[in-house]
Symmetry: D3
Subunit: 299 residues, 6 copies
Amino acid sequence: MNKGMQKYLDKAEVLIEALPYIQRFNRKIIVVKYGGSAMVDEDLKEQVIKDVTLLKLVGFKPIIVHGGGKEISRWVGKVGMEPEFVNGLRVTDEATMELAEMVLGKVNKSLVQLVESLGVRAIGISGKDGGLLTVDKKLADGEDIGFVGEIKKVNADILYDLLEKDFLPIICPVGLDDSFNTYNINADDAACAIARAMRAEKLAFLTDIEGVYKDPHDPETLISELKVSEARNLMNEGYIGGGMLPKLHNCIDAIEHGVSRVHILDGRIPHCLLLEIFTNRGIGTAILNDSEERYFYGE
Amino acid sequence: MNKGMQKYLDKAEVLIEALPYIQRFNRKIIVVKYGGSAMVDEDLKEQVIKDVTLLKLVGFKPIIVHGGGKEISRWVGKVGMEPEFVNGLRVTDEATMELAEMVLGKVNKSLVQLVESLGVRAIGISGKDGGLLTVDKKLADGEDIGFVGEIKKVNADILYDLLEKDFLPIICPVGLDDSFNTYNINADDAACAIARAMRAEKLAFLTDIEGVYKDPHDPETLISELKVSEARNLMNEGYIGGGMLPKLHNCIDAIEHGVSRVHILDGRIPHCLLLEIFTNRGIGTAILNDSEERYFYGE
Amino acid sequence: MNKGMQKYLDKAEVLIEALPYIQRFNRKIIVVKYGGSAMVDEDLKEQVIKDVTLLKLVGFKPIIVHGGGKEISRWVGKVGMEPEFVNGLRVTDEATMELAEMVLGKVNKSLVQLVESLGVRAIGISGKDGGLLTVDKKLADGEDIGFVGEIKKVNADILYDLLEKDFLPIICPVGLDDSFNTYNINADDAACAIARAMRAEKLAFLTDIEGVYKDPHDPETLISELKVSEARNLMNEGYIGGGMLPKLHNCIDAIEHGVSRVHILDGRIPHCLLLEIFTNRGIGTAILNDSEERYFYGE
Amino acid sequence: MNKGMQKYLDKAEVLIEALPYIQRFNRKIIVVKYGGSAMVDEDLKEQVIKDVTLLKLVGFKPIIVHGGGKEISRWVGKVGMEPEFVNGLRVTDEATMELAEMVLGKVNKSLVQLVESLGVRAIGISGKDGGLLTVDKKLADGEDIGFVGEIKKVNADILYDLLEKDFLPIICPVGLDDSFNTYNINADDAACAIARAMRAEKLAFLTDIEGVYKDPHDPETLISELKVSEARNLMNEGYIGGGMLPKLHNCIDAIEHGVSRVHILDGRIPHCLLLEIFTNRGIGTAILNDSEERYFYGE
Amino acid sequence: MNKGMQKYLDKAEVLIEALPYIQRFNRKIIVVKYGGSAMVDEDLKEQVIKDVTLLKLVGFKPIIVHGGGKEISRWVGKVGMEPEFVNGLRVTDEATMELAEMVLGKVNKSLVQLVESLGVRAIGISGKDGGLLTVDKKLADGEDIGFVGEIKKVNADILYDLLEKDFLPIICPVGLDDSFNTYNINADDAACAIARAMRAEKLAFLTDIEGVYKDPHDPETLISELKVSEARNLMNEGYIGGGMLPKLHNCIDAIEHGVSRVHILDGRIPHCLLLEIFTNRGIGTAILNDSEERYFYGE
Amino acid sequence: MNKGMQKYLDKAEVLIEALPYIQRFNRKIIVVKYGGSAMVDEDLKEQVIKDVTLLKLVGFKPIIVHGGGKEISRWVGKVGMEPEFVNGLRVTDEATMELAEMVLGKVNKSLVQLVESLGVRAIGISGKDGGLLTVDKKLADGEDIGFVGEIKKVNADILYDLLEKDFLPIICPVGLDDSFNTYNINADDAACAIARAMRAEKLAFLTDIEGVYKDPHDPETLISELKVSEARNLMNEGYIGGGMLPKLHNCIDAIEHGVSRVHILDGRIPHCLLLEIFTNRGIGTAILNDSEERYFYGE
């Protein structure tokens, strides 16, 4: 057999290897929190969207939750708005909220556009549509920092209805309180709440780190699998700090409310989502129940 | 019977009078082009949304198509963008398009918010979602004026699916061309194309004029009912000018593609939609087929 | 604005005010026991039917249960039948039952006719159709008074099937015993049993009195709202007498089996049903659970 | 094998012989015009209803259309009404119509009762329910003879909906004109119009004669099978007279509008319906298209 | 009435007598274990299949489970295979299993063919299709006797799906173990497991005996009805021997897991299935719960 | 990036490359004629089944039609049957047909087994089940060669029903004539008739040749794409001979009855199905309409 042919056979083998993974996640809901570098770099952006679109096409039910990333800051500057602070915390006043919603809406439709260009039915909504996300005001150490919301209710029916009509839902984290005021929501929190409400099979966070480290200064201490109890210990013992702390809290919360597995992935690695789902190579850190076994399909 | 009681009986009578109208439009699609003053004045805004919400609740299937009105201009100024012109026509360059989409998105979600606050399921989408609106570049007298689109395809399935799931769709007129670039679309054109594609029962334009006049300088010449052939004559004889000309073209186009009736309503009159639909008082100008009779349900 | 216009705006306002009520009862089942003067006076008859038809059109699921009222007595006379009595109680012998069924059937179809003339799909059935009502013989103080039945089973599926096919069911209170003999049923009992079996949102009795009085001789003592425990007290203390006693028993029975609210309305007031449902003016007496709050939607 | 056993084996054989017939009419609509002696004699009545119930249970979709027969005349006498005549034709004035509707309603429910007692879901309706039958006034030689209607529209959806919900519909021939007045309809006409509107497989008239004769005075001339063209010839040549003439017109009309076969059966023969459908013994006269072959399943 | 006519009337009477039985088993699942002489004699074969087809056509949901009977032995001889034995038990080695599956497949399709020739939709499957039957290896007194399986899981969804699509499923008792090896299954066991999994109304074994005897040597001791506790006693007291022992175990197992009634029928009696179901003549032995009454519909 | 990682990224790329192909064939029916070496070699067999299973899992609707290949000849020998010939053609007498059906049944279930072991719902049927394939006797040059059938009717509903219930149908080419006798059918003919009846998107023949050659003796003359008119010319000019002639006739027949594309694939190449569908490398010969363009998705 000539070499050109061999190349194709190798490709066929890769597809065949995907069989058990495709089967395992057939019709399962996978919530992807999309953010960080993967939103800024155009190549990474395209790769992430292609990954999610592939998941949709082979029979999974992915849902994207995205943030606005650096784009909001860029526009705050562009418009010449002056940030306000309370006790050192940035305040989301009405004008900031208005601008943030505009930027998030723009990002939302740009993702819709990408998915549609790949031939898959996307719909971009915010937590306002169909009353998807209802919030309470979130205080920072007891201080009012404006229109920052804490999710108190997810109207999961909206998403079930859209999935039933074969849409790939793309959600920006804006919601309403009981008086129908607009609030900004942390995208990690939104992804976690939605995964919980839909009892998703997986919740994957695309981040700008490789995963959870025992010692953040030593790349050799990357943890590829973390049971909930181990995660709690790490936090209690002070190993976890910075932005990872609330993220881990979210992970544990999701696991404890029916999500089977949460992944902290390095969004800077191309196709990190596919690698995690379709190969036995662990990417980043997987958080799982104490009682669960890691699943392998042989190497 | 005392006077307090009489007030209530009068109310009951009004509801009873609505019976034949509710019946006539049960499960019928009504496309409302929402724009002009009714988008600026907060009271009018609330009234329009209440009207449409009522239509939804009593069994109609309304769809809102909105423009961005003066809000886009306001933001162009705020951001400090310099408008560009070709042959005296304003050009929609990439930056303008980006800003316009952001503003339209904001307006879109504010309408969603209002409908949701009235307890009805709304979903705000643009022509990008589900590939609803596909466009070609629109030239102005042969000149390229940037990202201004002419609709060439409406994916009506998207709206049928959302109506089936009991959403009130609210649409902002942005679409994609075959290469998935973003284009601005005239909201009147979008409303007309959607009404055609769904063979709506009614298409109503909320405008800032009372209707079509034979002599625009003489308010006494307001035409309350216009057959298609009469409309054509008026246009040919030069009676119609300005912004009314393309609007009338849209009206005729809609009628000729299966929409039963098109209305040019004065959006400055509170509840003009309800008045048109639920009473025998003609508001504005109705355009209809030459072969049709105006329907009345008695005084 | 001229005065003619104001009249129409007022009408629009009334419709808008109905919004929250329409929402609250959307797809809810409302059983209306129709009887008394409202069945004799042609104007009242038309108003009641218009009210119920409107409820149907705006999305509720009304069911009418009617009696035969004075029409049965009229025909007994016409045919020259001699009433028979046992211990002073009128006996429903076979001949009387046959005639009663004929008269009830006639009344039933005349209501169907009225609803159909308003453009709504009605179906007139008796408790025989689909085995809707199965009865046991009802004794009066241990005496056999003929074919008078006590409901022991409601086949609710029949009504769910008809509602699903968008019919407005109109039911006359005739049923079968286990040996398939025909029995007359008290219309109040039938309405109550049906409301219970379908866990209706509301059960409304159209009567010829204003409601429940603490002192029947003093119109000022009309009770507009009665908790179940209060109703029990009134009965125990002997305040309630005559035909109201079994009616109140029915009301309490319905409430205790899942009906949210029972109303004793004055059928002589035009549109009393609409007034009760669409305005905050209490008409007649509402019976409700001890734990419930009366709902208001502002003045 | 003993004799007792043989009896059972013979029974099994009969059931097995029914196989091809059950198959042929599976899910087919069969309209039965029920009238004549079979409505008066209690034994025959029970047999007819058992036959139709069996057809329902083995998978057919029978619909019964019945008249009021001699019962109406009996009640006219009982009530002491004076018949009125115009040009020798009996007039159905308002009082007669009212009484006829009552009697037909009673008969209707008595049939419902019988079917229900056999464990099958029946629903008794008139042409008023759901607007099933719309009529025009029928003139007799240009003379107004009161509320006698000619069917101009059958709302077949009503029956499809009831069949879908597994009801056996039992219909009495009363309808409404466009102004919602009540009219009596000839039961043969009603059965024929309904069979046409539903493109029934079969339409069977239960009559008091053996079938169509070439010479009514010679029982040997009974015609067991009549092509449409032959029927026309017989009529043109004056062989057919009396009540058979309109009946044959109805038969031809039904055949020409899609009913596969019409049968004139002798309702005085017990189980004539079953015999016609489940055996190869021709009962009465079958009317069929010129192009069709009579179907047999062997002896 | 002449004698020819009487013959037909008698037939009609037989059909009418079937009414209550048809009603009772409407849409009920009936599992028929088909084997013994009834599979060898061509006449009996045709009668059994006609019986089952009739059950299907009149609205029951029969499922056939068959063995291969003497046909397997015939082919083992034909191919010249040498049977192997372990401890006196015949071993199903791979070659035997291959041949057995081929023969069972042939028998399966011949039954499909018969049912199809009667105009009913049949589908012939084995326990492999859709993973219907999963087995463990069955040991005989601790000895490995080859590919003989014991059912550990029935995938009832497969049969529900086929019944929903109106197929009459015909099943041959071959299954797979967890490693997807092929196993032979005792047909009685398969029928019992399937009846349990589907909570069948009836499970009928066609055998070559008249039923269960108290004294196998005395035909007068045939037991027509056996409560579960009585069956247990008979077994404990040693009255039951040979092939009847495991069959009775199966019967009791089925009854205790939700099957309403199990019948041991004499497949050598023509139409024994119809006789059991459609007449009040008891055929063979019925096994039922201690708490149940035998049902009769009069003589 | 280390080399281990690169391997995984390459795999992800292959999956991503499959995107447009997965999309193109989503929910499309693909009929695979499975035969030749790919049925004999166990490795190839597993590869083919994995390919088809993957097609099922990523959303296509594959249907397998298989022959019995050399297995039938092997069993004819094993049983010691003497082949009979008419004019040099092998005759399928009753005994041969019986054996052939048994062998085909065995092959059928072995394929079911393989698919089930990959976790996909398979169902193995023959043309007898549900009356899928009805045949006439096929004569060879006017001579009767026994039970060899020519398909005259495909009951496509059977397959639609099984696809709707998510089965992967595996079909062996045996059918019934109008008298319900069993016939053998050429597997190529069966695959072609089924593809036609279901208007399949693709029909793929797995063969033991590389494709169609202009000069069978010169491997350089392999034709990768053949328009229908070109195929006709090749046949007319005598370039095509042997077994390829009827196959090409089948191909053309399929194309002309609505199948979009037919492929003659070399079943000896591992994963030839995946290679054809998921890569732009043409495998074997594609036959297509004159008016169609070959589709490419870039290199």
